[in-house]
């Protein structure tokens, strides 16, 4: 994707709000360390997760 | 005007080949019969031909379908083992058809085959002889016709029901014993040619 979300691991606390807001399955993955990662090749870049995140841990990278 | 008997031969037959069943190719009535290139022969003859084709192929592949890939009922595990043994004997690769959905966004032709666009896999891997096994009849027929239209791959179908006119070699009621029989035949033939 040309446009995809990325995570600032320092800000992420694993609250899952981003996961719940993503219309695509298994794109945002929660790891045992309570940090999420994004499968950039499948992210459609809608930005819903960016708005959902209360800690501004996500941003759209273009 | 007499039209000669339609033959089911490797393609590419063209943009939209006819269904062999619509061209007068008829599935055999008897259990010990099979189809080779549109003509009814004995199962033994067809086995000979299939063994020959597999052994002389540059890139033979077996395409197991959901009915054998998933261990969903009694007898499947044994059949799966027999298919793997056959692949080994024939020195054939295995590319699965795990289901029939049109895949989104793309198929990975190196690792799977899909009945809606089987040619991608055949072209990508330069497959010249293939065996369909454990594929529901409808999807096997859809795929076999597309292959005949667009590739020069020689198709062999193992069918647990009545068989497939659109395959170049079609076996009906192909069970565990018959798969093993073909494997034995291939092993024997390999030994002979050495």
């Amino acid at each position: 994707m040309y446009v995809a979300a990325k995570v600032d691991e320092n800000k992420c606390n694993g609250c899952k709000l981003c996961i719940w807001s993503c219309p695509d399955p298994n794109v945002i993955i929660l790891h045992p360390n309570k940090k999420v990662s994004i499968n950039q090749s499948r992210c459609k870049g809608c930005g819903l997760c960016v708005i959902a995140c209360k800690r501004e841990a996500l941003s759209i990278d273009s | 005007m007499a039209i000669p008997q339609y033959r089911v031969l490797p393609g590419p037959e063209g943009y939209l080949p006819p269904a062999a069943a619509g061209m007068g190719v008829i599935l055999p009535r008897k259990k010990d019969e099979a189809l080779v290139e549109g003509a009814i022969v004995t199962r033994e003859e067809a086995m000979e031909k299939a063994a020959e084709k597999l052994l002389s192929a540059k890139k033979p592949y077996i395409f197991p379908g959901p009915l054998v890939l998933w261990n969903w009922k009694e007898g499947v595990a044994e059949k799966a083992q027999a298919i793997i043994a056959l692949a080994k004997a024939a020195n054939a690769g295995i590319i699965p058809m795990p289901d029939y959905r049109p895949k989104y966004p793309m198929i990975n032709p190196a690792v799977e085959i899909n009945p809606n666009h089987p040619n991608l896999t055949i072209w990508h891997n330069k497959i010249d002889v293939c065996v369909f096994v454990g594929v529901h009849c409808h999807y096997a027929n859809v795929a076999l016709k597309i292959i005949r239209g667009g590739t020069d791959c020689y198709t062999i179908a193992f069918c647990a029901e009545m068989g497939h006119e659109d395959a170049m070699i079609s076996f009906r009621e192909m069970g565990l014993a018959e798969i093993k029989q073909l494997t034995d035949l291939i092993t024997r033939k390999k030994g002979e040619s050495r």
Binding site: - | A19, L27, N116, N119, N141, I146
Partner: protein
Amino acid sequence: MITQKIVDPDYLFFQSERSKMFITGSEAVSEAIKRANVDMAIAYPITPQSESMHLVGDLYAEGYLKDYFRGENEFSVMSAVAGAAMGGVRVFTATGGPGTMRAFEMFPTWAGARLPVVCAFFTRGVNSPLTIQPDTIEMAYMLDTGIMIFHAENAQDLYDMLLKAFVIAEQPEVHIPVGVFADGFFVTHTRDEVSTAPADLKLPAYDPYSSPVPVMDMNNVPLRQMRDPFVMKSNFISYAAHASWQQEVAAAAQRARRYIDHYLGGLVESENPGADIMIVASGTAVSQGRAAIIAAAGEGIDVGLLKIKCLRPFPTEEIKALTRHCKAIIVPEFNRIGWLAREIKAVVEDNSKVVDGPRVFGGMTMPTEMILESIRRCSA
């Protein structure tokens, strides 16, 4: 309910002792369904079909069927029938005329989805002004939906064809629907002698796992299975899949030929096949043709008959062979458009010898004399 024994279809059809019943076509439907081991039937009223599905409802009340209900319209009924068939049960319904039209979107869908549904169609006019009268025009629209089409001449045919349709439709390499058509009123409401197998025998149950497509029950593989997805998107590969799919449905009908030959005794049947003048007909028109042949013989005119029992798959070669020698082919029909004449003209070697008609429609009876008139003109 009588306790029924499952028997081989061949035994039920050909060996069991038959007895005669003086019944209407609607009652013949019920007698067939009673012996067909049907799991489920869904009904919606329309004249002249209603009586047959009332009687099937009575069979349910007696315990011969496991489920039965009235749907909300024909489109929904045919949809519910599709759902039931995808769920792996043997299912039956019936409709006719405007009901066929209302449900029409489902028929190509049944065929494409490889559903072995058996549906009886009791033909009636479909035009405005509204009519309930017999008219076979709806068959013209049904011919190319992909479903197999049998056309019953009388109640006996209706009984036989319905029972046999289940066996033919459910063959693994066939597995497409069968429409058993009968002319409304001329067959449904006419009481006639019908010879039937003993009521304590029935067909073997349907085995959904021999289907060429997965049954939608989450008890077989693959689990990731949609019936039937749009073969995604606009590109040559998708078109090829669609084209191949359509060809496969047509191929399935071709594979049915051997079973139609075996169970129905052929796609066609002939009487006095060497005659110079041949009547080629299906349905009630066959009966009228038979009467006309007798009348013509009385006048010293030799006439033969070709009865088409199965319209899809179409008996192209049979018709060619049986009409090659004759001078005139008369095609009596119970519709205005003459769809059967069109079909015949498309397959005979010299179509200038096909006589268009005679035809009646809008509910009219076709008098024997009308066919006799055509015969006289051809023999002059």
